[in-house]
Symmetry: C2
Subunit: 306 residues, 2 copies
């Protein structure tokens, strides 16, 4: 049998990345293409584990890199530096994503479906609907979990009417109370006790480079910012270690209060001046009220000031 | 009123580029977004003019460049070097395209619909169908013309079952005999008498750079290769002028016989060795049997040998 096409999201996988890769596999199979397999590029976080446990499902298999010519489908990312090692020489058949397009190219025409929605799973939901393919309870829970996670239960400014509509419908199909299930899911993701400080700053970190400035914006969700700040000294130590190791110019850690929709940031590196164009740092920190979205709020704040 | 969103295809517009931009405007308007306007980045060729005359329609307005922040929708291309001057600083809201993705990036999430089909209008046809929007005769003729042109009446190897299905259905809606209308359309495009040799090599030329090698692949369609070759000496003179002006390393002109599906190529420049890895040139020329598609046949033949 022909080698399977691998479906995966970004490194440091979040719930949208894991769930959307699994849903895309189900969608392909329901369309008659069974030669596909969801895989992941990193550890499953506690929030995602909550959703998988709810469904009594295993996480996709872990892979480290892809071989030359490997057929792949990317979900929830397109930038090669967020993808599997070796992606430059893979055969990218399809992308389903909700991010800007950058550091991405192919040698052949492909399927690419990007929508400026809050979540990749909302795009997949539309694909089911447009193609008239029935959504079963399993994929409804997976897609609902992804949307709840990426939109913080529809409270993030990245939320669109399409995410809202999809979540309501998916909740109905899944037979779950979206608000109750959603809060439980989000809270499961904020249990940070098991993580070392080094793990915390890697948990959901996006690297990018703009005008020669190397940046990292990491994010952790919590229901209590003060709880996380008890570990500030060690977090800063690990951030400084990462900066030294990777030649990073600006490392921002956003500690996001998902109940009150604020973020406390810690910013380190030789280019913290970029942050200070927007907000004054005290003790390397600032509270950004109403800021919860890396993509819509933190990333533009950094990029526009480089 | 807010400034209109401009819709356009690539420079050196062909029938797919012109017709798809006009169809996308109609589609937006039927969806309730009337603040859009199709424009073009170059002269309308005779084939496209045949389709517009059939419909008694004017070509979209010509524009030279776009201003910073201008809202745009791109059809039938994505590479910035094939797009309007100033595209780097425009606000790209959406792309509908059937080419590889390359030299393209945005700072924000966007709508991007790429499909590996033979024609952009086939993707737009699917958009009408998926959204349940009625296709009137005007847009049916425009989309059918684009598909006929890009697939050489479904004979090009780029043709997919989706193009075939769309063309049959569009022919029915338009009330035209696809084969008769199609041959008339293609033949209209092969009347090269009015063009100077300089114009001929610019008519449908795609520039690209790979591993530092600057290439141009230009294509003209004809029903008689010998007729075009009567002008070989002057064509080569203009190709050499263009090479000297732009620092081009390899300039390939493909003279494509649309009735017999062959191409005679003329290759000039300091890197004709790239072509000679595939075929021996005699008197700067070679006949490539069965070759009609730049994207699927000529481009890979050049790129894979750089």
């Amino acid at each position: 049998m022909e080698e399977k096409t691998l479906i995966f999201g970004h490194k440091n996988p979040d719930t949208d990345t894991i769930c959307s890769s699994m849903v895309k596999q189900i969608l392909c199979e329901k369309e008659g293409n069974t030669n596909v397999k969801a895989v992941r590029l990193g550890n499953v976080n506690k929030e995602t584990k909550y959703a998988l446990d709810y469904l009594q499902m295993e996480a996709p298999e872990f892979i480290e890199k892809v071989e030359e010519g490997q057929k792949v489908i990317l979900v929830d990312h397109n930038e090669f530096n967020q993808s599997a090692d070796g992606i430059e020489n893979a055969n990218i058949l399809e992308v389903v994503d909700h991010h800007r397009i950058c550091n991405f190219q192919t040698t052949d025409p492909l399927y690419y479906t990007a929508r400026p929605f809050g979540c990749t799973s909302t795009i997949l939901y539309q694909e089911f609907v447009e193609k008239g393919i029935e959504i079963a309870k399993t994929e409804a829970v997976l897609m609902a979990s992804a949307i709840i996670s990426d939109t913080l239960l529809l409270k993030s400014p990245t939320t669109t009417k399409f995410d809202e509509k999809a979540l309501v419908e998916l909740g109905r199909i899944a037979g779950i109370d979206i608000n109750k299930y959603g809060l439980d899911l989000l809270k499961a993701g904020t249990d940070l006790d098991d993580f070392s400080e080094k793990e915390l700053i890697d948990l959901d970190a996006k690297k990018f480079e703009s005008k020669g400035v190397k940046c990292v914006i990491a994010q952790v969700n919590t229901v209590s910012i003060p709880d996380v700040l008890k570990r500030k000294e060690k977090l800063e130590e690990e951030m400084n270690n990462a900066i030294a190791e990777n030649g990073t110019d600006l490392f921002v850690l956003a500690i996001t209060d998902i109940l009150n929709s604020n973020s406390q940031i810690i910013a380190l590196g030789n280019r913290v001046d970029i942050i200070e164009k927007t907000v004054k740092l005290e003790d390397n920190m600032a509270l950004l009220e109403g800021v919860v979205s890396r993509k819509k709020q933190l990333l533009p704040m950094v990029e526009n000031n480089i």
